[in-house]
Amino acid sequence: MAVYILRRLIYGLGTALGLVLLVFGLMNLIPGTVVSQLIDRAAGTSPERLAEVEAFLGLDRPWYVQLSSWLLDVLRGDLGISWRSRIPVVQLLLPRLAVTLELAAMSALISSIVLGVPGGLIAATYRNSWPDALVRVASLAVLSVPVFWMGSMFILVFSTALGWSPPLTWVSPLQDFGANMRMMILPATALGLVGAATLVRMTRNSILEVMGQNYIRTARSTGASEQRILLGHALPNALIPVVTMAGLQFGFLLGGAVVIEEVFSLPGVGRLLLQAISQRDYPVVQACVLTIGVLLILLNILIDVLYAYLDPRIKLGD
């Protein structure tokens, strides 16, 4: 097990390195140096001045020197300094990461425990009757909608019908938990709804598959009630693949969080990334991509370990 985790970590490190190379390569693909795009050309900046700025930012060095010095800094926990605000990127990133993770975690809870598993359970119990059809159609419709549009429609419905308006400044849950929840519940639900659509279908199919197995028949023959068979025997086994899926969904939720943050004006990594992209603040872009990538790589390893723990038939590292 330890060897397996170690091997996965090393492989994950390689993937993260590749991700850095990809972003770095893309930035070097665009014509002209970053500086010529940063500085307004209409201002009539002299070529000497441009070269000076390039040297200041270290952009006059060959790309491999830039890359390796950046990587060495990252290993020391230094993600560089924002070109625009001159604030260390770590200081910009960490508070925003907290917002994004809270949003993703809340929507993961909503999508799995509040909506996904109960929905799948209902659909499986009433298989091929109207509750099943309703759940299936609803999940298919939800999967067909862009996350941000769902968010906009939520705002529209809640603001016009219920007189609710999104608060303007973000409040940390440690500061004022209630205000934070009021702010996060709508974006988290919009995001969680989309995540739930996949989980509902998966839970339903998984339960139906398990219900057809021999041990369920044995349980029936012992005279166990249908409810006990479903909740006590079928559900625990049916949920094993769902747990994996829910973990993989976290990546999707993180991606969706980027746009949802924009719609609900939440100060998360997504908005930081979008802002950094429009300002061509590349140290920030690099850091955002790398952080989320590393988070997801670690999460995937965790899911595999959890999977092996939940299902003793699975042996890791073979």
């Binding site: 590749g18 665009i30 067909s144 862009p146 549009w149 991606g255 746009v259 979008l274 997801l296």
Partner: protein
Amino acid sequence: MADRPVRNDTERSTRSWVVSIAQGIRDEPVLSTGFLIGAIIVLIALVPQAFATHSPRATNALAALQGPSFDHWFGTDTLGRDVYSRVIYGSRTSIMIAGSSVGLALIIGATLGLISGFIGGFLDQLLGRIMDIVFSLPPLLLAIAIAGILGPSVRNAIMAIGIVYTPHFFRVARSGAIVMSARPFVLASRLIGVGNRRILIRHILPNVSALLTVQTTVSLAYAILLEASLSFLGLGVQPPNPSWGSILNEGRPFLQLSPWVSIFPGLMILLSVLAVNLVTDRLRDRWDTSLAQE
């Protein structure tokens, strides 16, 4: 069946396709509905001028932000442009971007995947690692990063979405190629001296095409959503050109004042993605796609 009336051939062939379509609709109502909606949307995308009531770019300051009416079915935007006509013309851009990017991913991903699975070895390892890197980020985030760094334009949006979905096709084609190249008929053709390229194209490709078709429809649905997100964030189609996402972007500041600008393009996205999803769902059930799990 001995007492079946004998019909002449021409009568039978003209009737048979009408009957078979009718039968198809009866047997596959879900698939047919999906196909029908999809076909209408593709038609709209091909000849928007036949459906639009106004020019998608004609501004009219006097008619700004009007609600839906007989003249403007979906209302008007801030510049007084007809939202219905913009949505109709936007279909062309949205479908074009989604289609081209999935086509790009299919061609690159499937080709590399087939070769990688068939040849194996170092090349397979290398390509697999590269695809894992692309896979490590959520699609939307990666597309935002790529389109954002390359700069907002239609071409870059197509590239971004294409890159994001290439690994999906790669994996499907690769696993198909691995399973198929171990089958006796492939070994037999290799034994009688059939070349690698011919085996790949004539024997392996046809056998993974069902899997690739399902993957194409799945990706098409996601690509439509992804284009909408990119354009909504200002990283795809640029104003004044309409696409479903860019109209939503323009409508955003007026969400509460004139919600119709935001509602109708979204419904159009819902309809088209739903159509694709309906088709995908049925294709998955009908075709044995268990190969992907082997």
